[in-house]
Every structure is written in C-alpha cells, then in structure tokens.
Symmetry: C2
Subunit: 343 residues, 2 copies
C-alpha cells in the first residue's frame, strides 16, 4: 500500500465511526422491529462508507475548512447537518444492494447472508422500500435553506431513477451479444456512477456553492464511479479468488460484458468461447488463467487499465474549481485509490 | 346508486382523463422501454384515480374556486402544477400495489395479471423502485415555493415509510392470534389511510393553506382511509363473489383479522373455527353463508358498520374548516361514497 493509499484509507476510516453513529441515530430499530432490523442488517454488516466519506470531504473542500475541524451535524456558519445527507446517500446504496441481491439471487453480501436469505424475500423487498423513503427523510433533515433542499432532493430522486434504469439495462444486456463499449459505459454511468456524483454534488448544493462548482463535482463523481467499475471488472480477472472473496473470473463465467471483453470482441476474439466448458462448476483456475492470457494478448487488459486511468485523471482535474487544501487533495487521492486498489 | 353517489362518481370521472393524460406525460415510456412499460402497466390497466381526484378537489376546496374552472397544471394565482402532486400520489399507490402483489404472491390486479406475472419478479421489483423515485420527481415539479415543496416532500416521504410499516405489521399480525382492534386500526392507518391523508393534506400545503386547514384535511384523509378499509373488510363478507371480483369470504379463508372478526372473537366466537375445512378449495358458498351468519349473530357485522359510519362522519366534520361550496360538498360525498359502496 502506497503512502497516498494509506492517507486515503485513514481519511475514510476517520469518518466511519461518525457515519455509523449517525446511521444508528437516524435509523433506530423501532416498531415494527423485524422490518427495521432487516433494514439495518446490511448497513450494520460493514461497508467502507466510501460515499458518505466523499460527501463529507466535499463539504470540507467546498468551504475550505480544515478536515475534521467542523461538526458535521452543524456544519459551517449556517449549521447545516451535512451528515444527514451523507447518511441519505449510504442508505440509498444499501437499499439498492438489498433489491439487487433479490433480483440477482445472490446469497452473500459483505460476508454475511443477503437480506432475503437472512430474513425472507418479502421482508427484503419491504426493508429496501423502507430505506428508500428513509433516505428522502434524511435528506430533508439537513436544515439547509428550502431552495437548496429542493435541489438536493431533485438530485437524489433523479439519481435513484437512473440507478433503476442502469439495473434494467444491465439485465437487458445479458441477453444481447452486440452491446457496444459506449452502451456499456452508459449502463455503468446509470447503475454505479450517478450515486458517486450525488455524493459529490449534493453537499455543494446544500452549502450554496456556485453552479460551476456543483457541475464540476458532479463530473468528478461520475468519473470516479466509472473508473471504479472498470477497475472492478479488471480485478475480477486479475485478482486471486481468495483475495477477491469470490470466484476469480466470475464475470467471464457468467458471460458478463465489460470494457475488457468488449474490446477483445472488437479485436476479433470469440469471448463466449474463452471458457470452453459447459458447466461453470468445471471451470478451473488454469482455464481462467488461459482466458485472461488471451485477453492480455489482445491488449484488452491494458486497454481497460488505460481507460480507467484516463477517466480518473479527468475526474481529478475537475477538482481544480475547489480551493486548494487537504480536503481537495484527499478527494483526488480517493480517485486514485479506487483505480489503484487491488481488491 | 343514490343521487349523491352519482354526483361523486361524476366528479371522479370528470377528472380521470386529465389525470391519465398527466400520467402519460410525466411517465413516458422511454429507454429502457421494458422497465417503463412495466412501470406503466398497472397504471394503464385502470383504477378509479380516487386519490388524485381527492387531491384536485381539495385544491379547489381550499382556494374556494368552482370545480373544474382552473387549469390543474397552472392552478391559482401562483400557477402551481397541482396535477403533478396528484400524479405523484397515484404513482406511489401503483408502486405499493406492484410490490405488495409480489409479497403476497397475488396473480391478478385490476383484472389483469400482476406485474410480476405479466413480466417477472425482477422487473416488477425494479418497476416499483422506479415509480418510487418518479413519484418524488413529480412532487418536485409543482412549481410551488420551495418551503412548501419541502413540506410536501416530507409528507410524501413519511407517508411512504408508514405504508411500509403498515405492510410489515399486516404480515406480522398473520402469525398472531392476540391482535387487538386498536392494533388492527393502527395497522390500517399505516398501510392504507396515510396515503388518503397525503392526498388530502399535500394540496393544502402546496397552496399555502393555514396549518389548521392542513391538519384538518390530514385528519379527514385518515378517517376516509380507515372507513374505506373497514368497508372493504365488510364487503369481503357480504358481497357475492361475482360482484366482488374475487372469492367472497377470502379474508375468513386466509384467517385475516379484521374489525369484524376481532369483535366476534371478543364476543367469544372461535373465529378460526368458523370455516371448518382444512382445504381452502373445499369452502362452499354455504360455508361462507353460515360463517357470516354467526358473525351477524354476534353483532360483529353491525359493529363494524357502525364504526365505519362514525369514522366517516367524524372525517366529514373535519371539512368544516374549508369554505363552503361544491368542492367541499363533493369531498364530504366521497367520504360517504366509500363507506356506502357495495363493491
């Protein structure tokens, strides 16, 4: 781990406890208990709190205050509860994971059973629905001037709509062999990147930043999210299963399109024939190694790495609208961190 | 049908086309088409548009204008798009039906297959999630002053949370034999009545009505919703299957608690033994008739009728804060209509 990575991890870590405390306070396990326990289950199971940390850092960067010197529950001269917005974004993330796990019939999440496995599908649907409205309730509790609250809520609502659209596109693409890289990146923007954009732009809106700053932060968040997903796709191919926490090459096995396989396809590689076994259970580590070798040979791994790097650098440049300082440096560091991480 | 009922039906009918047009405009079937088709499927399959009609009538009653004389898309001197709020409430209703049908594994809704049957469970979950955020987007498009928009959104978000809580309570009660009438009514308030309350209170908020008026309308909506549910429970027992559109006595067959069966239980009737057959498919019309006869004998049918009537009358009295006029009369008529309907 580089010194920069260590600094970024410390910055995220340094805000995690405050985020966790706020989640516990804003989402108490109240009647009906089973519903609220299920709603909290995944939130309590862990998670880096990357998006809330980004949101809090943006608040600090926008206002030019030294990190961790302001009270997040009464931030700046207007005493805005910026933490309520951070919780809102994390709660949306949790809601989407719960519903996605039902849709994909995934059994595990964050090392624990998915909510629909630990409870049941009915409770998991309802827990997700509850978190959905709770996220809006949280975003309404920042105490920001009403015109800014309205804009933050617009951002939150359109973000949620886009996440749903992205998930629908992801499902639709599974049945199609002719998805283009452009379509794939559009799907990633909808499904993954918009929530980073919301995390980056909403604090600026709530704190009354200029439109130019809000737009730049939105672009930063989108780029960070895009690069995050490309790196995720790369790690699936290049990281040993035991470090990945799931089967290496699972995207290849499932026939999922990514920037890597779409590039290889365009280079004439028959990507559906890369793993020449009918039964996913028969796929060996050697099969994966050979398939990745062919993708490397086609230049597809390098292509995706270069793309993720370029998107990250573009995202970092967008931060130039912010005052220089530690918070801005850390936001740039987060962008690097997400594309340099090895798991 | 009484003259009053005819007038109420005409008032709802007279607003339905405008509501349908606004739904089509605010929820266009755009990319990804399958997602938006599934999201629109139930909305397009019918429905009385009772809640949007109530919302539009409240707007007219609060401002004291003659019904159907103002443009709902630019209502009053501030030209507020009150129709956007009406669509928002209907969209929330549709989202809850789609997810409820998945949870209850119901096959039919409004005479057509449930969304998870017509499409699939994944698409139905996602269609509901999409409608959820679209409802917030609609509520943000009224053009009302920001402080009122924030209050309307608060009302919408807390309403959604309560609907989820109500659904969770409903599920939890199925496994309990000791539910009290008070608990049942609390569940009904959460699951059903709060959306009527939102439909009645939100236009008043958006149009800047006094707090007293908003509170009274909220109370009116809650009472209308409570009485609506009690009448629903009564109709399940007293209406022939062919008119009901589902098996008469289905609540009894499923062992669902209602005001009727809870009263009977408190009178010493063994309500779980009312239908003495192990297999629901074996239940005959004569079995239902006999069971309803015992509930009548215990005074439970009359008890529920009286309760629904009293709640309705209380709801109507709350309208006295509004200016007299046709819109107010129609709102009182809706309260009567819902408790007098025979299907």
């Amino acid at each position: 781990m580089s010194a920069d990575s260590a600094r970024v991890e410390a910055a995220i870590e340094g805000r995690r406890e405050a985020v966790n405390d706020a989640i516990a306070e804003m989402l108490p396990v109240t009647r009906p208990e089973r519903l609220y326990e299920a709603s909290r289950y995944l939130l309590d199971a862990g998670g880096k709190r990357l998006r809330p940390a980004m949101l809090l850092l943006v608040a600090e960067a926008v206002t030019g205050v030294d990190p961790l010197t302001e009270d997040y529950r009464a931030f700046g001269p207007e005493e805005i509860d910026i933490m309520a917005a951070a919780v809102s974004v994390e709660v949306i993330q949790s809601f989407t994971l719960i519903h996605d796990d039902i849709m994909d019939d995934d059994d595990l999440r964050r090392g624990v059973p998915a909510v629909h496995r630990e409870y049941d599908t009915e409770t998991a649907i309802l827990a997700g629905d509850t978190l959905y409205s709770k996220a809006f309730e949280c975003m309404l509790q920042t105490g920001a001037p009403a015109d800014r609250s309205v804009r933050a809520l617009e951002k939150l609502a359109t973000t949620c709509t886009k996440i749903c659209e992205g998930q629908a596109l992801d499902v639709a693409f599974e049945a199609r062999g002719d998805v283009t890289t452009e379509e794939y990146l559009d799907m990633v923007e909808h499904k993954t990147a918009v929530l980073y954009a919301a995390a980056a732009a909403i604090p600026a809106v709530l704190l009354g930043a200029d439109e130019e700053v809000v737009d730049a932060l939105c672009g930063y968040g989108l780029d960070v999210g895009r690069a995050f997903q490309i790196q995720d796709d790369l790690l699936d191919l290049t990281t040993p299963s035991e470090r990945l926490g799931k089967q290496r090459g699972s995207d290849l096995i499932e026939g999922k399109r990514t920037v890597v396989t779409l590039h290889a396809r365009d280079q004439g590689v028959d990507v559906d024939a890369l793993l020449d076994t009918a039964d996913p259970a028969d796929v060996t580590e050697a099969d994966i190694e050979a398939a990745v070798g062919r993708l490397e040979g086609a230049g597809s791994i390098d292509h995706a790495r270069t793309m993720a790097r370029e998107i990250t650098d573009r995202g970092k440049r967008r931060l130039e609208v912010l005052p220089e300082g530690e918070a801005r440096e850390t936001l740039a560091g987060i962008a690097d961190y997400l594309v340099e991480r090895d798991y």
